[in-house]
């Protein structure tokens, strides 16, 4: 499914932090995990993940180390920091409010007929 890029941008940080909260990971695996968690409905432009990871690294939300993959290639691993966990908790609270509010809107107005027609 095509998701508006502003929505992707807004949700990318908590998604990445959330996935890293499960444990250390690297770029490709993070992207795969996003696809998995969304049941394949959410796919990113892969390249965009890296500037985001670097920004999180600069802000101190994640820590990066260079390691090796099973086949011996250089691979950059990311792990969440305490500051990152805090940021994640913050974001979670904010998203909860947004999600609750949207939920109320959907419930009150029902699904718009256009979307039904398309679905």
């Amino acid at each position: 499914m095509r998701i508006d890029k502003d929505l992707v941008a807004a949700s990318a940080t908590p998604l990445v932090l959330g996935i890293l909260a499960e444990g250390e990971s690297y770029g490709y695996a993070i992207g795969k995990r996003v696809a998995e968690l969304s049941g394949g409905r959410m796919e990113w432009t892969d390249g965009m993940l890296y500037p985001l990871l670097h920004r999180l690294e600069r802000l101190g939300h994640v820590e990066a180390t260079w390691g090796r993959s099973e086949s011996g290639r250089r691979r950059k691993h990311y792990a969440i920091t305490d500051a990152g966990r805090q940021a994640l908790a913050d974001r979670q609270r904010q998203w909860q409010v947004v999600a609750d509010t949207l939920d109320n809107v959907w419930r009150r107005f029902g699904t718009p007929p256009v979307a039904e027609g398309l679905a």
Binding site: Y28, K32, Y50, P51, G60, A64, S69, R73
Partner: protein, 461 residues
């Protein structure tokens, strides 16, 4: 597929990935580490797709496609790592933004501005007496750079108007305040007059920063870029001045041998046109981002930080062991200000050249040591001075010196604290950097206070 065929496709794949890598490497904002990271991704993706049944070349195409438009990706990288672009001659043009004209037209503009500034300076040299000239020279030199940057950044009319008004107000203050002159043979300017002359360039440079940021003076990234700009401008100016000094010295020697005197021309023509020329050419060189100096900057800081640390420790020892500060006067305080300014400049320089992705290392500890040593030295001097000032009262000079000292002290103390956090991994380099850019305008404001308020408070003494 036979074994041999499989091997050939493998080779093709490597060639294709090589090609992709060199294609990505052409983008200025991408480092080899970034490319290695993305290549790892690409290879994983290809392997997964191939395992899912795609032929290798198809898998390659799909994987590249999923990576996204490389222009977009590298622009994202550039936004995240603006310090890397600094080294590059070519910025990625933002879509829709006007592309800056050709190098030659740029250079022509610079020479035009330099000539205009030269003519203005020549007029001032002819028209004004010595002290008036000293007061007003900066109003030609700095606005030449500011105006040129404002034009290049296409600042809005509103910003241009505010900058012009602020500069004009400064001109009025500096020239209309009735400064006292020291009595005695020849007219020597008094205390507040000297303070004003020293602090005006700082205020004007703050205005230049606004023009440099294209009016976007709140942006911390732009502020840090301006720090780099200032540091590199100083280095280019030093290089140009050294070169010009050699040329002039040789010329003077040869002219003398031939029986001519170059000196009158030097003062009346060469310097009035040479100085603005040097400044504008230096500014232009920094702007086109000749990367020579950028590569020297980190090396220079690595050389001078340990040396400065040694210097400060020695100073500390001398001050503790030496006689009490019976004979100290404001010159000690001014010296201390100079020492702290040096340390701040060194810190700023190394922070601006620091790769934000790099974890804390030995060098960051050294910098922390530098800050601590500077604070220790200053603490001694400051206590000695404050007790003496309490005894003999405040003059304009002492107030200015103590004020600046306190500003520098606050700047360094908090930098030290944040650096400590960074090396102990409880904070990030980002915090250290942010603090610098947040604090810098304070110096400009302080200079403005010294220029505008001090003469009034101290009655133009």
């Amino acid at each position: 597929m036979s074994e041999r065929q499989r091997a050939t496709t493998g080779v093709d794949m490597e060639a294709q990935i090589d090609q992709w890598r060199s294609f990505v490497a052409r983008r200025p904002a991408m480092t080899t580490d970034d490319i290695a990271e993305m290549e790892d991704h690409l290879r994983d993706q290809i392997a997964d797709l191939a395992a899912g049944g795609l032929a290798e070349d198809e898998a390659f195409l799909v994987a590249v496609k999923r990576m996204g438009n490389l222009d977009d990706v590298s622009r994202e990288f550039a936004r995240e790592h603006s310090e890397r672009l600094w080294r590059q001659l070519v910025l990625i043009p933002e879509p829709g933004a006007g592309v800056v004209g050709s190098r030659w037209r740029d250079l022509g503009l610079v020479i035009g501005v330099a000539l205009l500034a030269g003519v203005a300076l020549k007029i001032l040299v002819e028209a004004l007496d010595e002290f008036a000239l000293v007061r007003n020279v900066v109003f030609v030199l700095v606005p030449a750079v500011t105006g040129w940057l404002a034009y290049k950044r296409r600042v809005s009319w509103k910003v241009a108007a505010v900058l012009t008004a602020a500069a004009a107000a400064l001109v009025l203050v500096v020239n209309l305040y009735p400064f006292d002159m020291l009595p005695g043979p020849g007219e020597a300017p008094g205390m507040t007059a000297v303070l004003v002359v020293v602090h005006t360039p700082v205020v004007l440079w703050l205005l230049t920063a606004v023009a440099y940021a294209g009016g976007d003076w709140r942006s911390h990234g732009r502020r840090m870029d301006f720090v780099r700009f200032t540091g590199e401008l100083a280095m280019y100016l030093a290089l140009i001045a050294a070169g010009a000094g050699v040329l002039i010295a040789l010329s003077v020697a040869v002219w003398n041998l031939a029986g001519f005197d170059l000196e009158p021309y030097l003062e009346s023509w060469i310097l009035p046109f040479g100085i603005p020329g040097a400044i504008m050419v230096a500014a232009w060189l920094v702007e086109v981002k000749m990367d020579v100096v950028e590569n020297i900057a980190p090396v220079l800081t690595k050389v001078f930080t340990p040396l400065a640390l040694v210097m400060l420790v020695a100073m500390f020892a001398v001050m503790v062991l030496g006689d009490s500060f019976e004979a100290v006067d404001r010159s000690l305080l001014i010296l201390m200000d100079a020492v702290l300014i040096l340390v701040v400049a060194l810190l700023l320089y190394s922070i601006s050249a620091h790769n934000p992705m790099e974890p804390a290392g030995v060098f960051d500890w050294l910098e922390l040591g530098l800050v601590v040593a500077a604070l220790a030295v200053d603490a001694i001097a400051l206590t000695a001075m404050v007790s003496r000032i309490a005894e003999f009262g405040w003059t304009a000079n002492k107030t200015a010196a103590v004020g600046l000292n306190l500003l520098l002290l606050a700047h360094l103390a908090w930098t030290g604290w944040l650096t400590l956090g960074f090396v102990r991994r409880t904070g990030t380099f980002h915090d250290v950097e942010r603090w610098q850019t947040r604090y810098l305008p304070v110096y400009g404001l302080w200079a403005a206070i010294v220029v505008v308020v001090f003469p009034l408070v101290f009655r133009f003494d």
